[in-house]
Amino acid sequence: MSATPTTPSQKPAHDGSAKNGHAPAALVSEEVIRVIRDDGSLDPTWDPKLSDERIVELYSWMVKTRIVDDRLVTLQRQGRIGFHIGSLGEEATILGSAAAARPQDWIFPCYREFGALLLRGMPLQRYIDNMFGNSNDPVQGRQMPDHYTGKPWNFGSVSSPIGTQITQAVGFGWAAKMKKDDLATLVYFGEGATSSNEFHCGANFAGVFKTPTVFLCRNNGWAISVPAARQSASKTFADKAIAYGIRGVRCDGNDLLAVYAATREAIERAARGEGSTLIETLTYRLSGHSTSDDPKAYRKEAEVEAWKSKDPNTRLRGFLEKKGLWSAEKQTALEEQTSNELAECVKVAEKAAPPTLESMFEDVFAELPWHLKEQREQLLKGPRAKGHGH
């Protein structure tokens, strides 16, 4: 960069001159963080040094998540629930990152993160009630399945429009920072969502206002049928951090410890006032986009097979078994226990009544205005629809 007195790069301080300041250490490194080596040892550079118990616990959640996922797909195929959108193959990304957030840190979900919410303590029954949209569903069956909410566990509210949670997570963390509360936000989204308006707005505000936000981009290769390469011509998704002056990090999204380490570091930086980090986890959506999707129409079986060989659950199980921390017996016991618990929840959920008709009019506003009172009366006094559980 030339530096004669009149070059713009030396221009006197209009505030824009910050744009010409000295480059800090590169915002995005080329490294892909990995911890669990193929030989079963851990790379000490990034090893988060979790206790054996903690790793086993997190592995158990990965297994549970997968069992629940699998069962929900079946229920959908049987027509007993309307829809499911799961996390098959992305368990290490979801559980590893959620585990790295401190209890006070808020999680803003995309829609594949029910595992994170279970990890945080939401009773399985509550989740299953949501899947059935019954009167026990805290959301009163108002939204589709998998549009859960979890305020008691510092967890946001799922909505379908892609990306909206990103800007909200930034604002939430920003507010905490204003109030000097020790809190970061962890927001999930897919690589497809990086194309949304919201990613741009959110990341830009995060950079300008140095908010304590961890952007967790699950690069699972696909946005429904659109491959990641069609989503952006950037070299990596983490590189997008440069546009916002925040840090960018990539990690092996199928390596629980790598995801944990990357997220933990980002959370700690955020908490120290060092601003936001965009984490790209390299993972793969092993299932269809949702129960409505058949991926055979647009991707090769070979690609899926190759990724199956990197299944995060299998990898972590191998690691644990090598260390003598896990066994086939433990696996069977866990699977059985989860299946039983799940069967019980489904039974309860299926028996529960649908939400009341009145519930349809509540919570639009804090109090029912006259027009909704009128509409409610009209509905109540009129005949019932056929075709659902009234």
Partner: protein, 324 residues
């Protein structure tokens, strides 16, 4: 004549026009290889290639903004928005740019395109896969809005929309994508924009509706008929500009009208129709024009069949209006 459902008829129209006019391009999320999440664009990618059937990044603003630019260049883009609930990231481009291009440039620029998008409830989609946002576009001057009810109209209206000189929002009622079937001529024909169709003549009560609810209106009309109330059922087909003549002629005959739509009641198109009837046929009114609509709440999941203005909710209103 071949039997088709709505999906097939729309697909047929697209294919026909793309063969005829190499300026027509389709773009959107998942419209290419997989042929759209409802398979409406199925097979077009194979026939016309990646340059005319384009899978885009996940960005409705990009889809519509780029389509406007293509249209300024002289292409005729037919972008798809995957669900009309997801049109809002592109709302600024649509209402501030697309709708105003001809006007603001004194006719120098025309941004001619057709936005196709599935609309309405009935597939258990909850808040975000069920909405009917037509009035949010009609209020903005400069857009034509179309919503077909059957395969014949779907093909004919889509062809007319693509050839119309103005930008068109083409709402496809997803509840009847496959359920509505009928004979569809092979080859070229159009159904003119701006013309409603009277599906059933009657003398006691006029029912005005569009999209999937037309079938509910017909069912309710039939049930009303059994009670001696003879309904005239109008399918708007083009929501804007309205076919006011057909509506007013019918109301002058019946003096009574019930408007049925899925969208929330307040500031919906129903209210506009009531007002126009007041302006143009006040002295013919024997009863207050009534509306049976979606409620003024977000679209619910479990209770969607209670939310929608189905026949069981239309019938009592027909009776009330008839007996007023």
């Amino acid at each position: 004549m071949p039997q088709m459902n709505m999906v097939q008829a729309i697909n047929d129209a697209l294919r026909l026009e793309m063969r005829k006019n190499d300026k027509v391009v389709v773009l959107g999320e998942d419209v290419g290889k997989v042929g759209g999440v409802f398979r409406v664009t199925a097979g077009l990618f194979d026939e016309f290639g990646d340059d005319r059937v384009i899978d885009t990044p996940l960005s409705e603003g990009g889809i519509i903004g780029a389509a406007i630019g293509m249209a300024l260049y002289g292409l005729v883009p037919v972008p798809e928005i995957q669900f009309s609930d997801f049109i809002f990231p592109a709302y600024d481009q649509i209402v501030s740019e697309l709708a105003k291009f001809r006007y603001r440039s004194g006719g120098e620029y025309v941004s001619k395109l057709v936005i196709r998008t599935p609309v309405g409830g009935g597939i258990r989609g909850g808040h975000y896969h069920s909405q009917s946002p037509e009035s949010q576009f009609i209020h903005v001057a400069g857009l034509k809005v179309v919503c077909p009810t059957n395969p014949y109209d779907a093909k004919g209206l889509l062809l007319a929309s693509i050839r119309d000189p103005d930008p068109v929002l083409f709402f496809e009622p997803k509840r009847i994508y496959r359920a509505a079937k009928g004979e569809v001529p092979e080859g070229d024909y159009t159904v003119p924009l701006g013309k409603a169709s009277v599906l059933k003549e009657g003398k006691h009560v006029t029912i005005v509706s569009w999209g999937a609810m037309v079938y509910e209106a017909l069912a309710a009309a039939e049930q009303a008929g059994a009670q001696g109330i003879d309904c005239e059922v109008i399918d708007l087909r083009t929501l804007w500009p309205l076919d006011i003549d057909t509506i007013i002629a019918s109301v002058k005959k019946t003096g009574r009208v019930v408007i049925v739509h899925e969208a929330p009641k307040s500031c919906g198109l129903g209210g506009e129709i009531v007002s126009l009837i007041n302006e143009k046929a006040f002295l013919h009114l024997e009863a207050p024009p009534a509306r049976v609509t979606g409620f003024d709440t977000p679209f619910p999941y479990t209770l969607e069949l209670e939310y929608l203005p189905l026949a069981h909710r239309i019938l009592p209103q027909i009776v009330e209006t008839a007996q007023y």
